[in-house]
Subunit: 336 residues, 2 copies
Amino acid sequence: MYIGRFRYNGRDGVEPRIVVARCSAGPWLDLRTAERMRLERRGASASGARRIAAEIAPGSMTAALEGGNAFTDAALAAIEVVEEAAAIPNDSVFIAPLDPPAYRDFMAFERHFSFGYRWRKLPVPGVLYEFPVSYMGSVQGIIGPDDEVPWPHFSRHMDFELELGIVMGRSGRDLRPESAPEYIAGYTILNDFSARDIQLREMAAGLGPSKGKHFASAVGPWIATPDEISPTGLRMRARVNGDTWCDTSSSEIMWSVPEIVAWASAGENLVAGTLLGTGTANGGSGVELDRKLVPGDLVELEIEGLGVLRNRLGMPGEGWTPTRREPAPEAGSPAR
Amino acid sequence: MYIGRFRYNGRDGVEPRIVVARCSAGPWLDLRTAERMRLERRGASASGARRIAAEIAPGSMTAALEGGNAFTDAALAAIEVVEEAAAIPNDSVFIAPLDPPAYRDFMAFERHFSFGYRWRKLPVPGVLYEFPVSYMGSVQGIIGPDDEVPWPHFSRHMDFELELGIVMGRSGRDLRPESAPEYIAGYTILNDFSARDIQLREMAAGLGPSKGKHFASAVGPWIATPDEISPTGLRMRARVNGDTWCDTSSSEIMWSVPEIVAWASAGENLVAGTLLGTGTANGGSGVELDRKLVPGDLVELEIEGLGVLRNRLGMPGEGWTPTRREPAPEAGSPAR
């Protein structure tokens, strides 16, 4: 099954609605409409069906997943029956398929991460071979397919990152790799846009990255459930303005998806709707080719079985930046 | 005004309810009850009042703040009228006053952060004097007053961090320091518990910290609005099992609260309910005294005007940890 969200223009403004499909080519069905009709077939009044369907198929993917089987039963029933009245128009605009309560990104592709340290003239830290190291992204920075990437005023070096996104279907804690797959709702494409100049500055403090990452992370165009796709051996490609910058495979991953999920849940609650990123695939960024993005560039990420995620870079804006402080005499002289 | 949340045991389980007070000593008023009664005084039926009050005073502090003036008007009316029927029992259990959609922690106290690098035998990175550097915490790790701190199985070195928490009242983007204060809902105490051993390993990769921080961050016991408290010149103290480990002041902060808020909003959406931490106050952690916490330790943080936040350390559990990988020959030899 394939799950996404589209932009519905209602009387009270734009609202997200969940869509489901048996094939990613469509037809895509508005889950709320399909569930409303199913409830009516099962004896609900029109207003009762509308009310319950809105709770089972809310606009939020996280809220939907929190419904557990109430949500998956509705989705399976929708693609089983395929009510024509529930099909959405062909020109519907898809938006980010998820609104995660948390987004955590790992470093699991060795050739990419070892390049990153060498690029910064640093040795590759041994900890990257001890466990999958991560940083927390910003869920407020999530954008969807065809959304423009806001170019933060404090950066001049923009880059993309080609990643596989893992969507958690239910909440777990202290999972082991063996049971981790049961907690996965599906997979999507993730573009962890990066402002390399400020990212490099932040990582010099051993922290984050924050401002270097949190301005935008794109996901989509939709989610494929684990029965449709296995995360191993997927061809992964990146194109910029139509030119192929990367053609690689998910099979080169060093930490497996179950290991990533299990470690993400170690000692903490990993909740439904959470997005985990594998980290950049080998060769899946501009910095590895010594190339930068410029305003207006169109970045297309394609992963086998997961479609194409397209985003265009916006124009740099203007904004405030802090004024440098002088270290206190007793603090010692800071390093560059 | 003071705003908090308490644990209400209803027929369908425990649910959080928002409370407000004119003085932090009480009486604390259940905002939903107070608002329900106000709506009735203004012509609503009992069921209409109950329904609307539940939306204006939901269990989620973030959802409440998203209501804008609908929420603040209700809160101000509640402490103006003080309906006795809305007062909560004296033995009510306060929980985390907020359920932030994002939690970002900065490094703004120079003596603390410069110590941290020296402790790790590293020079103090110059970037810390260029802008307030941050990492993203985990909102799933938020715990409240008197909650036990879960001790993650992968750590043997637990520590606390004494911080001032800033709660965002409404959403903003690209704010300047001059306008930032208008976006602040209030202040609370923040204890950014830290697993120093794994934090140190993660920061060696320049990333996170993640597992070193995300297991638990305590906030509370309540929020004081900016008309009650100024973030400058507040006495800040930490006690462990009754012994004072730290007695410092918020006046030593290097980046001001408005600068922190403005930088947090630069190029990204800073949304209502978000928690920002100032970073550890000078001397506000055990590592600065070369002391570690042990299971069962009671950590009390006190900030002038913000009460006392108490948390006891739990016992270490058991769990899975990843198996070390061998670097690929072409990746080069990793550093420790």
